[in-house]
Amino acid sequence: MSYRTVQTTCPFCGCGCGMHVPVLNDVLGQPIPDRTHPLSQGRLCIKGWSAHEHVNSPDRLTTPLVRSGNGFREATWNEALSLVASRLLAIRDQHGPDSLAFLCSAKCTNEENYLLQRFARAVIGTNNIDHCARL
């Protein structure tokens, strides 16, 4: 038998609803809402109910892509991150820190969002930081 459930948290927004995700033959199944979670109390919205779908979706990006001509080519993380770092530095040096802006995400943890604003303010030197939930 290759079935187990994993207690976890919905990754889709800051609410953090509780769910138990079944794993069948190493493939995620539809989440079961956690009835004992203090916040969500056994309920999920449609994003939580569908949270497993993108993991094994054939459309999911599994490697960084770098623009090449009119399309994209696959790249390693090292190459992609080096490119991003060098371009960010070049733009900051040429046009100043406020020529850059950063958008963090409800799908990240508090700590990741903290790190991004820290990066924007302390490393790049701009207060241009915003969040997708402020649409």
Binding site: M1, H20, P22, P33, R35
Partner: protein, 279 residues
């Protein structure tokens, strides 16, 4: 609480015997982990003999979870052998209906029957809070539909008032599809509720058809487990709707879903086979 603790201990003992006797590969139940409870398949750990007791010590009986769905998924990954499962009355009825729908092979399940307490039965307004064979707990009385106060209040109103009630309730729907997803007998591969012909995409609330299509799709299969209502973020009283349908099915055709695997739904037989009763 003390009584429930001894019930949990009894279930653990039966699960242990089934697992150590090699009669089942795993036991589907509920596990307490990190202060929360969720469905789990208990198996014999590869280590020391005492490890099973450590694992089973975390087996608990509350709250209710859609264990029939867990059984179906777990069995689908198990080529051969038996699976044990801790069943309340509603879990067992759901498994019987799933077997009728060719979703599960009942011969591969060993059920540990658990009767619900009267308090639990009242919370669920459950008419039959016990499985066919009770291994743990005492089979007590359920709440008959005529004793269900919210049902009685609703049915004492005019048909216009009832339509207004349901329209108001359904207007809150955020179309999370939780009621469908958590339902043990909602099994279509292609769901009518995802068909733009019936349900407008990108629009909430979805309107009456959404709820009535679902109600009719499960009208002859609903076992009254209440998982739909428990999963509804908007507190729509779905069990009230389904109980009314189930009562009608009983009155008109003398049929109850989830009790007898041989009994055919009156919705798939002819009127000659299953005549409508004169009321």
């Amino acid at each position: 609480m003390e009584e429930r603790d001894s019930h949990a201990e009894d279930v653990r003992r039966i699960a242990r015997e089934l697992l150590l006797g090699g009669r089942v590969v795993g036991v589907v139940g509920l596990r307490s982990e990190h202060g929360r409870v969720g469905p789990h398949v208990f198996t014999v750990p590869p280590g020391e003999p005492g490890d099973l007791d450590v694992s089973l010590a975390r087996l608990v009986l509350e709250p209710r979870y859609p264990l029939a769905l867990v059984c179906r998924a777990a069995l689908s990954t198990l080529a051969e052998g038996q699976l044990g499962v801790v069943v309340r009355g509603c879990d067992e009825r759901a498994l019987i209906e799933m077997a009728k729908l060719n979703q599960i092979d009942l011969h591969r399940l060993t059920m540990i029957g658990l009767a619900c307490s009267e308090a639990q039965a009242r919370r669920c307004t459950c008419a039959r809070p016990y499985p066919q064979r009770t291994d743990v707990g005492e089979s007590g009385d359920g709440v008959a539909p005529e004793d269900n106060e919210s049902l009685r209040n609703l049915m004492s109103q005019s048909i216009d008032a009832r339509l207004a009630f349901w329209t108001r309730e359904f207007d809150r729907c955020i179309k999370c599809y939780g009621c469908r997803n958590v339902c043990p007998v909602c099994i279509c591969d292609e769901c009518a509720l995802e068909d733009a012909c019936w349900v407008q995409r990108g629009h909430i609330p979805p309107g009456l058809p959404f709820h009535l299509i679902r109600a009719y799709h499960v009208a002859d299969k609903c076992v009254g487990c209440g998982a739909c209502e428990a999963a509804c973020p908007m507190d729509i009283p779905l069990t009230t709707l389904h109980t009314l349908l189930r009562v009608s099915l009983g009155e008109l055709f003398d049929y109850q879903p989830g009790l007898d695997i041989q009994a055919k739904s009156p919705l798939v037989t002819t009127l000659e086979e299953t005549p409508i009763r004169e009321l």
